[in-house]
């Protein structure tokens, strides 16, 4: 419970932070909210020689919307995300998830950028961002690049961000008319990582036909999972319990959970099915004007 020595840097710009990461490639870790990193350091599971504390870089914590995107600064606390009235009104999947991450103490410190870029399949926001078709702005020594959420998660704790790069902004496409979204998490107790988490986004037309959909899954595989077949299946279908049940089976088949204290594989896969169906229903209710 006592970490080894490390050097500690407090850059004041993104460029300075990226410079430090580039200089100490592989030895340096970004310290944002510290809710995963510090715990891993206390257990000596992570032993970075250098910490680059990005908390004092100005203008990195914000939630704002323009005509194309909801833009979330990387050091925005997850508590702030779920408190945002814009998020609550038009991106309820994110405020749902924001309220389910760990516990209030963690949410007051943990950042959106950290939750998204840590690559832990148990983190709740990645599934939501996969469902929403989000993209990430990444700063590196050679400049800025933008990566889609889908394809970003390569393996447990492995993402497309290089060791000398830093995520600076999370962009969620602004939803059009008829969009509904929701996130559900099954957990053993408050503060637990999900047994299964499901993020769903649907767009319906005035007749109730589903125009397109996105489904993301938390903690049922080595990474957050985008349930492609289930999402694609829903496009063009008319909302019915049978259709949702079929999509839920496809989502279940996209999952690859490991057995642990939360339960065996067959249970977890069935929970993907159940919670996909329930979350889709909630998203559809919201798309049709419900809460």
């Amino acid at each position: 419970m006592y970490p080894p020595n490390f050097e500690y840097y407090v850059p004041s710009t993104v460029e300075e932070a990226v410079g430090l990461l580039d200089q100490h490639q592989g030895d340096a870790k970004i310290l944002a909210g510290g809710q995963s990193l510090i715990a891993m350091m206390k257990l000596r599971l992570a032993q970075p020689a250098i910490l680059v504390d990005i908390n004092r870089i100005p203008n990195l914590a914000y939630v704002r919307e323009d005509d194309k995107f909801l833009r979330i600064g990387a050091t925005t606390r997850t508590a702030e995300l779920s408190r945002s009235t814009i998020v609550q009104a038009r991106y309820p999947i994110l405020s749902d998830a924001g309220r389910e991450i760990a516990d209030p103490i963690v949410r007051n410190r943990g950042t959106v950028g950290g939750n998204v870029s840590h690559g832990d399949p148990g983190n709740d926001l990645p599934a939501c961002l996969l469902a929403m078709g989000a993209e990430f702005e990444i700063h590196g020594p050679k400049g800025i690049r933008t990566l889609p959420a889908r394809g970003f998660y390569q393996d447990t704790f492995v993402t497309s961000v290089a060791t000398n790069e830093m995520m600076t902004e999370i962009r969620v496409p602004r939803p059009g008319a008829g969009t509904g979204s929701a996130y559900s998490k099954m957990e053993r107790k408050v503060g637990d990582f999900a047994t299964v988490g499901v993020g769903a986004r649907v767009v319906v037309d005035s007749s109730g036909k589903i125009l397109n959909a996105g489904i993301g899954l938390t903690n049922v595989g080595p990474t957050a999972i985008y349930a492609t077949a289930a999402s694609d299946f829903l496009a063009g279908k008319t909302d019915s319990d049978a259709v949702l049940a079929q999509a839920a089976v496809l989502a279940r088949d996209a999952s690859a959970p490991s057995p642990d204290n939360r339960g065996p594989v067959d249970f977890k896969k069935d929970m993907v099915r159940i919670w996909t169906r329930r979350t889709l229903r909630k998203a559809l209710d919201r798309a049709k004007g419900g809460k």
């Binding site: 006592y2 020595n5 053993r188 107790k189 637990d192 990582f193 939360r262």
Partner: protein, 780 residues
């Protein structure tokens, strides 16, 4: 004189200790700071069972700040590599050649600060040769199983002891003659007390060679004696101070290796040494609780009269029996398993085995194995009621020991002091509207919804205990009070017990206020310092009020006896003419002629009668004539999500009877805390090991403690049936709820799952187990 409220028996006096606790001003072991203090950290075994081939100290000793490395071989030279457990087994302080469980203490590292000590631990290199561990306690008894305790000469198996009580043949015959017999296997899993404060100590040797240890202990006096016997130091040269304790629950009764290593480090370095466990060390090496594999049968006549009970149990003690039971009872009070029912025949046997797991078998808020007993009997009663197609409440009411049968001799040898079991159950049924719930359940079942109602009508046994039956390592289980009244009528009272959150500073003061007529705020209570407090066996198993609380009453009454003589002297009457009325010494029949205890106290030092000793104080070492038997009835109502297996506790009503209540608020707090500690293992807590002996719950990420969000809303109520033998009629209450709650939850869940033919689910009632129960059988 202003008349402050007395704050005696039955008053919800705010807790005196809370003024410091809620302001963060408690004084815990980790708050002790001494000049030149060093820090101990511990290297732990990554293997469940391995030979130690070599310990390489060099890299650790090279870490800046590391001063010393202590190994089992170092301790062996001082004959300290092994120590006795409270059950007269032996436990390694540090291993010399073999590690016996994952997380075992292997090497101590002493450094100038806590971080350097941790760096020293990380730098340690040890060569192990892993061996195949014995994890399954049933396989531990296989003829071919490796013998784990090769340190014990002549040992040929892993069987520790066999213990039995009751009439074996008579029980077999009675079961044979019963119309209905049901049998069930119930596993009560291994759990951990997980007190918020982990264990630790600060050891200091002063210039006169006296050893002082600030220690997280529930039993400072007994620990001093154990230290003296193990170390060979004279007992007068050892002082144990148990300061504020952040939760004990039985986990702070044993002596842990870290304490001994810290003492050795202090003796060898000449510096004070602090050792505070981190959470993982606490969870993986300190004594566990429970771990009973129970197979039980009960029989009844076809009209629903209980006949006989037979229980066979396998107790997994890890690599040493480090339980903290009274010596005569290796399975604790497990044979209170006949519960609230007048069985005519019963037979209980327990076999204990060694496995490659941490040592233990301590009483986690369970009054020595009563949780296991209550869980088994209250589950069996429900299963049998179901088999007989009788309502479980009706079945209990039909079979309870009736109030007029007390004192009731149980068939397995206890004498229940008092009880009114039907009274408590009927009250709980009324509060929760039992009939209404059953009606609702019928309707819900028609719609395919899963709702369950579960009852637990437990009988506890606490207050160890009468010296004829109860001792720990030979020391009789009395407890003590020493009461001194100062000239101005203020009181200092010291006890052999040690509060860990129970509120002794308040409740003992209330007992004394009642008995002495001195307002509660003028009474200070001290415990935990062996240099000042009278000898006692400490606080666990709900024994403080039954023993030390009674000692307080008797000591106060001794003071009243002397006080009456002083009052007679002051009032110029014969002592025979003085009576104690309305908390005053009064001339018989003359209410105007009286003296308060404060008057008498002042006279005791300024104007005492010729020929009488000055002063006003008394000591009592109380040896209770019997145990106390608190009881209660709990009813849980649950709703189950059929698809996910998630359980929602809709209501939980707890009717408790602990005899005379000293402080209703504190009792309610004990019940709330106890219910939560009964809920936790019912739903969440469990220490599991994989086949290699890897502990699967080494932090609070996996050892799941409930938060306020999961914890049900508790509805509490009381009945009052005083203990006939306790001087104020009080019984212990600290563990009733933890003991009583789990079967109420399981009974409710199994009741909900009745359409699926489920008879038992072992705790914790994880969602996946419920899902499996539902999916393994098609509903009718």
């Amino acid at each position: 004189m202003a008349t402050a409220p007395l704050g005696g028996i039955g008053v919800s006096v705010p807790r005196k200790e809370d003024a410091r606790f809620i302001r963060g001003k408690g004084n815990y072991v980790d708050d002790v700071q001494l000049p030149g203090m060093l820090f101990l950290d511990i290297v732990r075994s990554p293997y469940a069972y391995a030979k130690i081939l070599a310990i390489h100290k060099e890299k650790t000793l090279a870490v800046p700040g590391v001063l010393a490395v202590i190994t089992g071989k170092d301790l062996e030279a001082a004959k300290l590599s092994w120590m006795p457990t409270l059950m007269s087994d032996t436990q390694m302080v540090l291993p010399t050649d073999t590690v016996m469980f994952q997380g075992q203490e292997v090497v101590g590292v002493v450094a100038t600060d806590r971080y350097a000590a941790a760096d020293g631990v990380a730098a340690m290199e040890i060569d192990y040769e892993p061996m195949t561990p014995v994890i399954d306690p049933f396989k531990a008894l296989d003829p071919g199983a490796p013998v784990l305790r090769t340190d014990k000469p002549g040992r040929k198996d892993n069987h520790i002891w066999h213990w039995e009580v009751g009439d074996k043949d008579g029980t077999a015959q009675a079961l044979k003659e019963s119309d209905v017999v049901i049998k069930e296997k119930i596993y009560i899993p291994r759990i951990h007390v997980s007190s918020i404060e982990t264990c630790g100590c600060v050891a200091q040797v002063d210039s006169m060679g006296k050893l002082t240890v600030w220690l997280t202990t529930q039993a400072p006096h007994a620990i001093r004696t154990v230290f003296a016997l193990v170390s060979g130091l004279p007992e007068n040269q050892i002082r144990i101070i148990s300061p504020d304790i952040g939760g004990g629950f039985g986990g702070k009764v044993p002596v842990y290796p870290g304490y001994v290593i810290a003492v050795v480090a202090a003796l060898t370095t000449g510096h004070p040494v602090k050792f505070i466990e981190d959470r993982t060390g606490n969870l993986t090496s300190d004594s566990f609780a429970r771990d009973y594999h129970i197979e039980a049968e009960i029989g009844a006549t076809k009209d629903g009269r209980l006949t006989a009970l037979r229980v066979k149990t396998l107790a997994d003690h890890g690599y040493t029996d480090a339980a903290a039971n009274p010596s005569k009872f290796p399975a604790g009070m497990f044979h209170v398993i006949t519960g609230s029912y007048p069985f005519k025949k019963a037979f209980v046997e327990v076999d204990a085995v060694y496995t490659n797991k941490p040592p233990g078998g301590i009483a986690y808020r369970c009054s020595f194995r009563v949780t296991e007993a209550v869980h088994a009997i209250e589950r069996l009663i429900d299963i049998l009621a179901h088999q007989l197609k009788m309502d479980p409440a009706e079945f209990r009411l039909k079979n309870f020991i009736p109030p007029e049968a007390f004192p009731f001799p149980s068939v397995l040898g206890w004498t229940y002091d008092s009880g009114n079991y039907a009274g408590a159950l009927k009250k709980a049924m009324e509060i929760i509207d039992y009939a209404g719930l059953r009606k609702e359940q019928v309707e819900k079942r028609k719609r395919g919804e899963l709702m369950g109602i579960g009852i637990s009508s437990f009988t506890e046994i606490v207050g160890a205990g009468p010296s004829k039956d109860f001792d720990i390592l030979g020391i009789k289980m009395f407890d003590s009070a020493e009461v001194r009244i100062h000239p101005t009528g203020k009181v200092l009272a010291r006890f052999g017990t040690k509060s860990q959150g129970q509120g002794h500073e308040t409740t003992y003061a209330q007992i004394l206020a009642e008995e002495l007529g001195i307002p509660v705020e003028g009474i200070s209570v001290e415990e935990g310092d062996t240099d000042t407090a009278p000898y006692g066996l400490g606080t666990y198993a709900s024994r403080s009020t039954p023993t030390a609380g009674a000692a307080a009453v008797i000591a106060a009454r001794k003071i009243r006896e002397k006080g009456a003589k002083i009052a007679a002297h002051l009032l110029e009457v014969s002592p025979d003419d003085i009576e104690w009325v309305d908390h005053k010494f009064q001339v018989k029949g003359v209410p105007g002629k009286s003296k308060t205890m404060a008057d008498v106290a002042f006279a005791a030092y300024t104007n005492h009668p010729q020929g009488m000793e000055a002063g006003l104080e008394a000591v009592d070492y109380y040896d209770p004539p019997n145990m106390t038997y608190p009881f209660g009835s709990y009813i849980a109502v649950v709703d189950i999500d059929k698809e996910t297996g998630q359980i929602k506790t809709r209501r939980f009503v707890a009717v408790d009877d602990c005899g005379t209540i000293i402080n209703p608020m504190i009792v309610d707090g004990q019940i709330h805390g106890g219910l939560t500690m009964g809920f936790a293992p019912s739903m969440l807590e469990e220490i599991q090991y994989d086949a290699d002996g890897n502990n699967k719950a080494t932090s609070f990420l996996e050892y799941l403690l409930p938060t306020a969000v999961e914890t049900p809303h508790w509805e509490t109520a009381k009945t009052t049936t005083p203990s006939p033998h306790h001087p104020i009629g009080a019984k212990g209450v600290g563990e009733s709820a933890t003991v009583g709650a789990p079967p109420a939850f399981v009974n409710a869940v199994v009741d909900a799952l009745e359409p699926y033919g489920v008879t038992n689910i072992d705790i914790p009632l994880s969602s996946y187990k419920i899902w499996q129960a539902i999916h393994s059988k098609d509903p009718p």
